[in-house]
């Protein structure tokens, strides 16, 4: 488990390097990635479904990214991208393709649905948090404008 946490840390860190996140901010993205992945593992440990795990994991990732973005005054994307990559259903996507190539269409469609739902759950998690943050910031600027006028 410790080895895996280390692996996920370096996975997120290296994704940050590939997207050329500034050096000083790489560490934060990696920590966000580990947090999201641990959330997914915790849900799987509680016998939750992997789709719910992806959704909650992505909620945690997005929340951490937005909080870090506010605190450090940097775009949330640079924490969000390294953060959600460990949740991506890479193996499921590959198995979909493999089943389709072998002509096992039934198995392929089952895997495809699993991949789409996991990906959709990740997207929904980011969507929910970003919507809340967006609404809050719109309300805040409106208040500031009213105070000024």
């Amino acid at each position: 488990m410790i080895v895996k946490i280390g692996a996920i840390f370096f996975l997120s860190l290296s994704i940050g390097i590939l997207y050329r996140v500034p050096k000083a901010l790489l560490f934060y993205g990696a920590v966000v990635g580990v947090t999201g992945w641990l959330t997914l593992q915790a849900i799987l440990g509680l016998n939750g479904s992997i789709v719910i795990g992806c959704f909650v994991g992505s909620l945690v990732v997005a929340l951490c990214s937005e909080l870090l973005a506010r605190r450090l005054r940097r775009p949330a994307t640079i924490f969000l991208i390294p953060g959600f990559i460990p949740l991506v259903p890479g193996l499921e996507g590959y198995l979909t393709m493999l089943a389709m190539v072998r002509g096992n269409y039934l198995e392929g469609i089952e895997m495809a649905m699993r991949t789409v739902f996991m990906g959709g759950a990740i997207a929904m998690g980011i969507f929910v948090i970003s919507t809340i943050v967006h609404t809050v910031s719109v309300l805040q600027t409106r208040e500031e404008k009213q105070d000024a006028s």
Partner: protein, 252 residues
Amino acid sequence: MEPKLREIMSITLLAGEVLLRNGAETYRVEETMEHVGLACGAQRVEAFVIPTGIIVTISTEHGEATLCTRVKERTINLSRVVKVNELSRRLSDRRLAPEQARHLLERVARGRTEFNLGVLIVASGVVGASYAVSQNATFWEITPAFLAAMFIRYIAHLVSHFRMVRFLFEFLGAASAALIGIAAHQVMPEINRDIVIVAALMPLVPGVAITNSIRDVIAGDLLAGISRALEGILTASAIAMGVGLILTIWRG
């Protein structure tokens, strides 16, 4: 165009172009251009940005002008996005004069990144290897995954001159990952081919396209959101086709 207006226009467009070229969200490009333009002394700035171009109208007390720029090539360099973001913040707080901002922007646009090719290749390898570790791979599976992921990054460097051929890099990268996976399995039959291939494909995941499309849709830029989502879907398809082609030939 009156000189003052021309000055504001060029700084604003430059800021927008640098952001859009390096993988910023569309709404961020629009907002930043607005902030930069107003900080430089414009009365009104209207920016319309889609992933492939910018249209901006700026008005000052002396008149107004509209310019349009096409952005054909895009890469991903988030450190430039961060730098322009910081710069626009400083401009808005009046901690930076417009003349200095222009100079700094040009430096950001041309500046080398802090990571050179060697670091990027190793980072790509680490992505592959660490994904393999998280999937319970053995040492003999982690090593080919590391090498294959490193090789994928090197291919990206080789085909970077052919940017006009879209998704060539993803296709070739996926195909070579599949070849390396099959080769590793042939050399040592106890190696699980699938783990090696999946791990090597991890650096190809279109992370920026996915996040930007979600964030653009939320910000109300539906057009930009859809085109980014399409980019992500096409990238995934190119990867699937690259692997699928090799595995079909191999009768996997």
